[in-house]
């Protein structure tokens, strides 16, 4: 049995835990939806009960001391996006983070100034 397990336990397999075990089986986060490139920032609220937080919550909290997007968090903590969203939902519920939606970029209400800045930035790369 153990040797069978070893066969698939490699770097590709990722953390040896079913991701949703981290989230107590939840596959949806609480509260309103947030975008992949929403910016997450820690609030100044203090953690009343550190026991309520999993190590992954703490990792996320440390990351977002500076504004960080949802996808950057997922990439940095190396957890699937769905799991990260649930962790973020928890932290938001506890008032520990604020989530800010990205600039809307709907086709017909494009912010042309931003686009020009993007162009300028790309040309300068």
């Amino acid at each position: 049995m153990a040797s069978d397990d070893e066969l698939w336990l490699d770097a590709q397999a990722g953390p040896v835990i079913r991701p949703y075990a981290l989230t107590q089986g939840r596959t949806r986060h609480s509260g309103e939806a947030f975008d992949l490139v929403s910016t997450v920032t820690a609030t100044s609220a203090r953690v009343d009960d550190p026991g309520a937080l999993a190590p992954e919550h703490v990792s996320v909290l440390q990351l977002v001391r500076r504004p960080t997007t949802v996808v950057d968090i997922a990439s940095d903590v190396d957890l699937p996006l769905g799991v990260v969203r649930i962790l973020l939902g928890d932290l938001r519920e506890l008032g520990l983070i604020a989530i800010k939606a990205p600039v809307p970029m709907k086709a017909r209400q494009v912010d042309k100034n931003t686009l020009r800045e993007v162009l300028h930035g790309l040309r300068g790369l």
Binding site: G14, P19, Y20, Q24, G25, R26, T27, R28, D35, L36, V37, S38, T39, T41, A42, T43, S44, A45, L63, R65, R66, P67, T68, T69, V71, D72, A74, S75, D78, L79, P80, L81, G82, V83, A98, K100, P102, V103, P104, M105, K106, A107, R108, V110, K112, T114, L115, R116, E117, V118, L119, G121, L122, R123, L125
Partner: protein, 204 residues
């Protein structure tokens, strides 16, 4: 990385003015999405573990706590920090229709999309083109010209893909940074041109 570096003693830093811009990169397997993202940006790992729910099943009162199986999808994810407050995010997603559930989310608020095509397998990009056209997401087509691949004229490709005359089709070599940059520039220019064209002409 842009957000790392200095340690912050306090908790709160405002995110005022931080702009994150999404660009989608769609294309069939092996067409060069990963190469393209890597050529122009800091490529980073990103997994999404998507629950596969039976849509027919009613959601009961324990909504959100359901038994389900999941599928892990690796995305090509790259970040280009243009300025401290202006960051481009590139998301490469598989082109097949079965991955559209991911696109639906990625597409919201996206600046636009690049459909990366291989002239040897043009049909692979039909679903992507169809998707973006239906949702009115601005896109351009980039033909990844591999060594030795047969070259078609841009107009042949336009005809084969049934694209509007004004839709940019650019030739590229996804391995090269300059070429990858040109693709993104072409997309942003296209979005700008569309925005200009969309200025209301008819009242109401």
């Amino acid at each position: 990385m842009a957000y790392g570096g200095s340690e912050y003693g306090g908790g709160m830093v405002t995110s005022r003015g931080h702009r994150a811009i999404k660009i989608l990169l769609a294309g069939g397997f092996g067409v060069g999405k990963t190469t393209l993202v890597g050529a122009v940006s800091e490529i980073r790992p990103l997994r999404t573990e998507e629950p596969l729910t039976e849509t027919s099943r009613r959601v009961d009162s324990t909504a959100g706590v359901e038994r389900k199986t999941t599928t892990t999808v690796a995305m090509d994810f790259g970040r280009i920090t243009l300025r401290d407050d202006l960051v481009l995010y590139l998301f490469g997603t598989p082109g097949q229709e079965r991955f559209w559930f991911m696109w639906d989310e990625l597409a919201i608020g996206a600046l636009g999309a690049v459909v990366l095509a291989d002239t040897r397998r043009l049909a692979d990009c039909f679903p992507a083109i169809d998707y973006f056209e239906r949702r009115e997401i601005p896109f351009i087509v980039a033909l990844n010209v591999f060594d030795g691949s047969r070259r078609y004229s841009i107009e042949d490709v336009r005809l084969a893909l049934d694209l509007e005359p004004g839709l940019p089709i650019v030739l590229c070599d996804a391995r090269h940074r300059e070429s990858a940059k040109e693709i993104l520039i072409a997309l942003v220019e296209h979005v700008l041109a569309q925005a200009d064209a969309d200025e209301p002409v008819f009242p109401g």
